[in-house]
């Protein structure tokens, strides 16, 4: 079961557990926007993690409302709504706004675990492939099959070159 925001019914992406003074716990579920509002209202020095991270992320996003991934086309706004990123490159594009969020979720900001054995492939080639695949989707959507076929060939030749 996915939780819905208790204020607007949108999909909830932030889940808050409040510990009341009598030691009871209260579970709250919010969409990104209502979580921000809730945290602003209840902001207290004790909730450093989320409370400070959220407005910062929001402010950064608001100052640049057009922030969009050139590879998969997702906007930061869309990510905030769904809670899901569009492609691996988003971590680069949204880096500044994601970092406070990652810190509030994980506490840490740097990967220290396992590293793939294979030498990481050329990022530019990978993002180019994602872009071409997105373009094929668009071409098929408008029934431009000639263009889709050309893009297909291009992807295949890039894959062979790897």
């Amino acid at each position: 079961m996915k939780f819905k925001c208790q204020l607007c019914g949108e999909r909830a992406v932030i889940h808050i557990t409040e510990i009341e003074s009598n030691d009871d716990v209260k579970q709250l579920h919010f969409c990104y926007r209502h979580a921000q509002e809730y945290l602003k209202e209840t902001e207290s020095p004790s909730v450093e993690g989320t409370a400070s991270a959220m407005p910062e992320a929001a402010a950064a996003a608001e100052s640049e409302p057009s922030i969009q991934c050139p590879v998969c086309g997702i906007t930061f706004e869309e990510f905030r709504q769904s809670g899901r990123l569009g492609c691996p490159y988003d971590y680069e594009i949204f880096r500044d706004v994601l970092k406070p969020l990652l810190e509030s979720i994980h506490g840490g900001l740097r990967h220290v675990g396992k590293v793939p054995r294979r030498v990481p492939a050329d990022t530019r080639r990978q993002t180019e492939l994602i872009k071409l695949r997105q373009e094929i989707q668009q071409a098929i959507a408008v029934e431009d099959y000639e263009r889709a076929a050309k893009l297909r060939d291009k992807i295949e030749s890039m894959e062979k070159g790897s």
């Binding site: 079961m1 998969c72 997702i74 569009g86 492609c87 990652l102 990967h111 080639r125 989707q137 098929i140």
Partner: protein, 365 residues
């Protein structure tokens, strides 16, 4: 292997053996991985999903050539079969309800399941009965290495394995153990345990993961954090906590026996009696009563039924399993009647078997 064959067995997670198996039901590790040159699933079209499937299917088949996994095309299964795989812990509820091309590769022993096109392109899962979280990690790590040799995973030096949801980024790892904690629940100490776990960044979930109820007093404990900790640290953190909770549960059970044996004995016997005689019963009530009986058997308060049968009934009385075993679709009240009749029959058989055993070898009890 087809799904109807699976229905008659009780699967890996409720096999009921392994270390500390009276309390630790099962251990599981899952890894979230994505291919580097595709968009994440939510952004990918059907064409891309099919391409991801083809590529991963080829890879998975190649690396498991000696011990082949069995593929199921989840998108084309009936909703009953999908629910069935969820009940067996072989796919997630998200995978069952998602759309588009998606599949799962399962080992015949049901200890390995690889979901393709779930929230991430690939979700690897290794699950063992009992307390064996480290073994799960060792197995899954090797499997991950083997796949990694053939495909390029989305990875950044800074953020680690890149995942569709930022809550999984880094190691992409979720390590969890499923615990049966009826005495802590009965003595109302369970909330205190959970609060302590939250403080050390471990999450507590119900039987079927995120958002599910703690049905039958089963609780899953898992790491919240995936970025900034090594896989080893995540496993160790779980290893520190589990024996402590197991001890709490044992202490609570001892306390109940010492101070309230009569009440406890009455409670588990009534639960047993209801299961043996009910004419209609819901899945939720069955889980709750089986939970009491399971503890009763473990504490030797109920002696004419084996723990294997009780473990078996936990899974076989669930909606999709029951319908598979009955060989037909059953709705609402019909299902509850069928469940009650199934439980009566199995428990009656279990008792006769128990008595036969007792006749042959009186010391067996």
């Amino acid at each position: 292997m087809d799904l109807n064959d699976l229905a008659t067995r009780n699967g890996e997670w409720l096999r009921g053996d392994g270390s500390e198996a009276d309390i630790v039901i099962s251990s599981r590790v899952r890894l979230a991985r994505n291919l580097a040159d595709f968009p994440f699933c939510s952004r990918g079209g059907e064409l891309e999903k099919r391409e991801i499937e083809t590529q991963l299917r080829r890879t998975i088949t190649e690396i498991n050539a000696e011990k082949p996994l069995v593929f199921f095309d989840v998108g084309h299964l009936t909703s009953l079969d999908r629910q069935f795989l969820v009940e067996r812990q072989l796919i997630s509820r998200e995978h069952a309800s998602a759309e588009g091309s998606r599949s799962v590769a399962i080992a015949p022993e049901e200890d390995i399941s690889l979901m393709v096109n779930e929230e991430d392109h690939l979700r690897l899962q290794v699950l063992h009965s009992g307390y064996s979280i480290r073994q799960c990690w060792e197995t899954i790590n090797k499997l991950d290495d083997a796949i990694e040799e053939k495909v390029s995973y989305a990875f950044s030096e800074e953020f680690g394995y890149l995942t569709a949801c930022p809550t999984n980024v880094g190691t992409g790892m979720r390590a969890s153990v499923m615990l049966h904690l009826p005495a802590l629940a009965m003595t109302k100490q369970i909330d205190r345990v959970f609060r302590a776990l939250q403080k050390i960044q471990l999450a507590v979930r119900g039987l079927y993961g995120e958002g599910s109820q703690a049905s039958g007093d089963f609780y899953q404990i898992s790491n919240n954090i995936t970025l900034g900790k090594t896989e080893e640290e995540i496993i160790s953190n779980i290893e520190v906590v589990v024996p402590t909770i197991v001890n709490y549960e044992r202490t609570a059970r001892r306390g109940l026996i010492k101070e309230n044996k009569q009440t406890l004995h009455d409670r588990v016997s009534r639960a047993y009696g209801t299961l043996r005689s009910a004419q209609t019963i819901s899945s939720e009530e069955t889980m709750q009563l089986l939970s009491s009986v399971r503890m009763g058997v473990n504490l030797n308060l109920i002696e004419d039924v084996g723990i294997d049968l009780i473990n078996d009934l936990f899974i076989h009385s669930q909606p999709a399993h029951l319908q598979k075993l009955e060989g037909k679709e059953l709705e609402g009240e019909d299902r509850n009647v069928a469940r009650a009749s199934y439980l009566r029959r199995r428990l009656a058989e279990g008792r006769t078997n128990g008595e036969k055993r007792a006749n042959i070898d009186p010391s067996a009890q």
